[in-house]
Symmetry: C2
Subunit: 190 residues, 2 copies
DNA sequence: TCATTTTTTTAACATTTGTAAAATGTTGCC
DNA sequence: GGCAACATTTTACAAATGTTAAAAAAATGA
């Protein structure tokens, strides 16, 4: 159980009334994990939904000889195994904390029950999925229209915090290039 | 106004009760457009939400010297301007019908009112966004892990109908390659 | 059917990006 | 400090894809 005042500071909860926030908070708890912790594992149904209260995280898939980072989370972002959340099936992604972090944690089953009971919370969940959807689609389109150098410039402009705190190898795969290519891009614009 | 029996044949409505379906159907109408019609235009807020009842469609963005197709819709798919639907702002995409098509059309404002009134419909809207989200994210990940040839093989396996009915130039940009590259891939696996 | 337009393929060449391996830089810890 | 582990850059070369232009094939409409 978490205090409503604490949730009010987190942007993702801004649209909710006190009463809905209270309903949610009953099922939430605060957990801490150290840097390097893997909080979601591929091939396992993850029963929890998280909000990153403090810290940063990355989601990645394991390929044959490489790891691809395809998502970064910062304080205030929601964090869940897409396939567990949406289809109740094992996910394809691992989520690793890149710093010592604090997470708000809630059972998916509790969240799903609230979706079936509370109209405001159901619409809140809808908007979360919609915002993630539009961000993901924009990234897909950017891959087609923008070169790797331009995507990198945009990344450091729009996510200066991540740029400071995340290893370049993770940024490289997030941008869809190898680390060598990213090094070349960085060398070219010095 | 559309008959409930007609909607029952469309997979996306399967989870809804008769009563919710009736609420939706009050605001729906059936419209026909010819092949080549542009039903959603970039830089314009599109006030309607559509379900493709018959036909196929593609969403594309205009670049400097190229058009990038990033989405295909078939019978049963929902179809809307993401930015209009989600942020009430002009979109970035055009949607063109690739065949003579029949569409179920509904005002976004009517849909949004139902989201605020009807729990079942709000959760239905949530699931639509979630399904689109997971499909889009999988495509983004596939771009990183799979070569263009493999993505093409998967496309023709998973979307044989689109493969038959859509021009190769559109498939090429959907897969993230030029038409020349797709031609080479097709020549190599003959 | 024929002519016209559009789509698809092919070719030659340029560019980008990838791969592998070595060199350099950074960090944390004893 | 100095070692060990890890991250980043650099180099040389290979592979994939892009660009441009032209030819071939297919679709369209009178």
């Amino acid at each position: 159980m978490i205090l409503i005042e604490q949730l009010r500071n987190i942007a993702v909860f801004a649209s909710l009334s006190d009463s809905s926030l209270h309903e949610l908070s009953k099922h939430m708890e605060l957990v801490k994990h150290p840097k390097g912790a893997i909080i979601i594992r591929a091939d396992k149904v993850e029963p929890n939904f998280f909000v990153l209260e403090k810290g940063i995280a990355r989601a990645y898939c394991n390929g044959e000889n490489q790891e691809i980072t395809f998502w970064f989370g910062q304080a205030g972002n929601v964090l869940f195994s897409f396939n567990s959340y949406i289809n109740n099936r094992p996910g394809y992604e691992n989520v690793e904390l890149l710093e010592n972090s604090t997470l708000i944690q809630m059972r998916l089953n509790d969240l799903f029950s609230l979706y079936e009971q509370n109209l405001e919370i159901a619409n809140w969940g809808r908007k979360i999925a919609e915002q993630e959807l539009i961000a993901t689609e924009k990234r897909l389109i950017d891959r087609a229209f923008k070169g790797a150098a331009e995507r990198y410039q945009e990344f450091i402009t729009q996510s200066p915090e991540l740029n400071k705190r995340v290893a370049l190898k993770h940024i490289a795969s997030y941008l869809g290039v190898t680390q060598v290519t990213l090094s070349r891009i960085r060398a070219a614009c010095k």
